[in-house]
């Protein structure tokens, strides 16, 4: 079984991207052999109120059993706590925030509050380091990338905080993992969408030094090809157990499913 934890639907503000509809995402999953996907609403990252994309996302996911919704919470807007509680009561298992896109300090008081609240209601918080290579971004796309220091700060807000970080590279992951206590790092999961395979073998190194338990299959599709993380795993010498953990086991355990 394969779960892609890093997918989106909806258009991207900065360039034309094919395959952004729910149907196209399904087709890409079929093409790449992906069974289920965690999905967020891509246009919402640039909206003044990203939470306005949540109803559409939840509706799209309600009609597609292979999708798990990852709605957005903007902790700088009034009454966001009620949005979070409502999502939790509606059965949402994970939420996301993109502080750089919201114009918030990544480890500022709003994000710290969000980390504490997600911990209190028992929901993991997903954040992306980036969506595109910084060298190709639109001249007006100046959203700050998520800094590693913010991940370390947020995981320390509450011993129940759980973070899922996407689009991080090897250096970022190592900085956070080895800059955290074993308890802290055990509450952070990383997708492999931005971790290089051979010949640099960054992912192989991380699996050796950190272990497979911390990693999730993620592609970043449709902004990036769905095939990439699978090709990455195909080029590695992984045990069947480790591959199964990365492809689905860790994600299922994180959301309390089996």
């Amino acid at each position: 079984m394969r779960i892609d934890v890093n997918t989106s639907v909806g258009s991207y503000p900065w360039r034309r991207v094919p395959g952004t509809s729910p149907a196209a995402l399904r087709a890409a999953m079929d093409r790449a052999g992906i069974d289920t996907a965690w999905v967020f609403h891509l246009p919402g990252i640039a909206w003044r109120d990203p939470m306005e994309g949540n109803p559409w996302l939840l509706d799209a996911c309600a009609h597609e059993p292979r999708f798990t919704a990852v709605p957005a919470i903007h902790p700088g807007l009034p009454d966001w706590e009620r949005e979070l509680e409502g999502l939790q009561q509606a059965g949402v298992r994970i939420v996301r925030a993109d502080p750089g896109w919201y114009g918030l300090a990544a480890a500022g008081p709003e994000m710290r509050s969000l980390a504490r609240e997600t911990a209190r209601v028992g929901i993991p918080l997903m954040m992306a380091v980036r969506f595109e290579d910084g060298r190709q971004r639109h001249p007006l796309d100046r959203a700050e990338e998520l800094p590693a220091a913010a991940v370390r700060a947020l995981v320390r807000e509450d011993p129940r905080v759980r973070l899922v970080i996407t689009h991080a590279d090897r250096g970022f992951i190592e900085e956070v993992h080895f800059g955290s206590t074993p308890d802290e790092s055990s509450r952070i999961w990383w997708d492999i969408s931005w971790v290089w395979g051979p010949p640099e073998d960054h992912l192989a190194t991380l699996l050796e030094t950190i272990g497979a338990a911390r990693f999730l299959l993620g592609s970043g599709q449709p902004l990036r090809l769905a095939e990439t993380p699978i090709a990455r795993l195909d080029l590695m010498d992984l045990t069947g157990d480790d591959r199964a953990r990365i492809e689905s086991g860790n994600a299922l355990a994180l959301l309390g499913r089996s």
């Binding site: 094919p18 290579d133 060298r135 190709q136 640099e200 095939e227 080029l235």
Partner: protein, 266 residues
């Protein structure tokens, strides 16, 4: 057949203590992917004794010699480009002659001098004499100068290509950083510029736009520093194209622009 037109090997004089492991990893991954031929270049001592993109003549000579040794070590898997630093004209031209005699099949221009600089002309003329294609390192839509390299973009490469219409040029790593949409707009009207698909970038829509811009007839498959992304792009193309178009990208275009008999069937 599958030809990787953008490959680098490390060596003992590079700063990397893990150079052998990286080279072995590349060969292992190549076998898994099914790469028949890897066309490689080495940029001096990779920064150990002179900058990667401004290698000294001594480091250029060393790197080209190591490249020839690697070809000799893997005669049925690896081919090589001659690397030059165009700021050293006589030295670079002599390296091309030495490389040709040693079995090299292409010229690699990195970022020692802007691609449209007239100083590159004698090197491109020499490449033309030997039937070498020219692989030019490109920063897709370079909006400013970056430290450590005198990088070029597609506009500059295409100016050079227009001055040498009988030479095939390879725009390096369309997925290797920068605004690839900008590059694709430029290369569509440069018939002797081919686009190498290597690089860590695996943007959705990039391959479709490459096909729109230059067609399967001017695309070359490659990996550069990330073979996993190369494999992902290949798998995507397999779903996108018919067998004939796919073969153009896998090897036919490369066979056409490198010297005859560079890639005998393994």
């Amino acid at each position: 057949m599958l030809i990787d037109v953008h490959v680098h090997f490390l060596h003992a004089r590079s700063p990397r203590g893990d150079w052998q492991a990286r080279n072995e990893s590349r060969m292992r991954a190549a076998e898994r992917i099914g790469i028949t031929w890897q066309v490689s270049s080495i940029l001096g001592t990779w920064g150990a004794r002179s900058p990667i993109y401004f290698p000294s003549p001594a480091d250029v000579s060393l790197a080209n010699e190591v490249q020839r040794e690697i070809v000799a070590q893997y005669p049925r898997q690896v081919r090589g480009y001659v690397v030059v630093n165009p700021n050293f004209t006589e030295h670079g031209l002599s390296e091309i002659v030495r490389g040709k005699a040693g079995g090299m099949i292409g010229l690699k221009l990195a970022a020692s001098r802007r691609a449209d600089d007239l100083m590159l002309d004698p090197f491109c003329a020499a490449a033309g004499q030997h039937g070498f294609p020219v692989l030019q390192h490109v920063w897709q839509h370079r909006r400013r100068d970056y430290p450590g390299q005198e990088a070029s973009d597609a506009v500059e490469l295409c100016r050079l290509a227009r001055r040498h219409p009988t030479v095939a040029f390879i725009l390096a790593h369309i997925g290797g950083g920068g605004d690839w949409l900008h590059s694709l707009r430029e290369v569509r009207r440069a018939p002797n510029v081919f686009v190498d698909l290597s690089g860590s970038g695996v943007d959705g829509g990039m391959l479709e736009r490459c096909l729109d811009a230059v067609g399967a007839e001017r695309l070359l498959w490659g990996t550069d520093l990330t073979m996993d992304t190369g494999l992902a792009k290949l798998r995507y193309l397999e779903r996108l194209l018919d067998a004939e178009a796919l073969d153009c990208i896998r090897y036919r275009n490369a066979v056409a622009i490198f010297p005859a008999a560079s890639f005998p069937e393994s």
